[in-house]
Symmetry: C2
Subunit: 201 residues, 2 copies
Amino acid sequence: MIKLLIAEDQGMMRDALALLLGLEDDLEIVAQVSSGDAIMAAVAAHRPDVALLDIELPGRSGLDVLPELRAALPGCAVLILTTFARPGYLRRAMEAGAAGFMVKDGPVEELAAAVRRVVAGERIVDPALAAAALRAGPSPLTDRERDVLAAALDGATIADLAARLHLSESTVRNHLSSAIGKTHTRNRIEAARLARHNGWL
Amino acid sequence: MIKLLIAEDQGMMRDALALLLGLEDDLEIVAQVSSGDAIMAAVAAHRPDVALLDIELPGRSGLDVLPELRAALPGCAVLILTTFARPGYLRRAMEAGAAGFMVKDGPVEELAAAVRRVVAGERIVDPALAAAALRAGPSPLTDRERDVLAAALDGATIADLAARLHLSESTVRNHLSSAIGKTHTRNRIEAARLARHNGWL
DNA sequence: GATCGCCCAGGACAAATGTCCTCGGCATTA
DNA sequence: TAATGCCGAGGACATTTGTCCTGGGCGATC
């Protein structure tokens, strides 16, 4: 019997996954959580064989908890299940030891099969996405550039960013200018959007 | 037997919905489509009793096809099912004659019940969302302001917008300035984000 | 110890953006 | 007919943003 943990914030999707996977004879859902903060406690309590993690969760993201989960329970295979096929997400997932990376676009039948395959030790990666990840390369951004771009996503002014990050306006400008240059974009909005698209934030 | 049409682009969600609703004895999935363009043809071919429409679909949005669907097949109740609880979405859906509006956060069990209730003539609306829709009020934007804001969402410069919309830069500036004023925001990014959040785009 | 990259900060400057004004055309409404 | 509102356009102006430069501090690496 394969013990499964599901971390997914969208209620309908979570219920549907649990119901469908629960129908399989060799799978058992031992825990369902809807926030990233709840993952580690559920892992400790139920010691699943496979963890199905969404990335964009309230609290901590699935990618953030991934290294911690691998360290705490190395025998648990992690299958990332996300809406967004972002190259940087795949890269981070693989570097952190995920066993597989799937997007929610495919048919549900693939899911149970994927769970069994990662339990068998296989790695699951969408080939097209892997190619995109290699093409996009690793993030060219420094930590601070990433912070500033992430904070700029919602349209804040430079003064806002400076206040929010406890920096001077000059520093914020410099980081932004540098990030714009590295991303070959024309302003911070394009830079921030590209960075998000590539999973660099 | 209640005949159902499902329009949903995310494969896993579509499959899961179809499977779960198909398990109900009194429901029958007569059509599944993944793009907005395909909805009307499927409606004509299968004449469903209930159409379950996502809003953000490739091709035409669920809200765009809604009036056409109601005109073509008035006996078909439309249940909007969306990820985003945007006040303007709810408003548009209700004004266009939707029978219900649900977000994908809730438990799946609600879904089959909602389908039966709209067939029985009930209207389904999340009370909290309805309150938000009333609080946000109708869109204050003119058609052109909406167009310009929508085009500004991706970080385009004023020159880009002017070229894309076949307007002079002066005109674009004026529309943007007006939209910024009406939304009580500080720049077009904030204005565009607020407008999107409220479902005004 | 020197070098490198990152971080923070400031100044100077050009370019982009946002505001406010005028003006004309057009359709709808009173 | 007059008034109103939306649309397109342009000019003038202040503000914001982006670029490029300098410089100091810090830690890692060679």
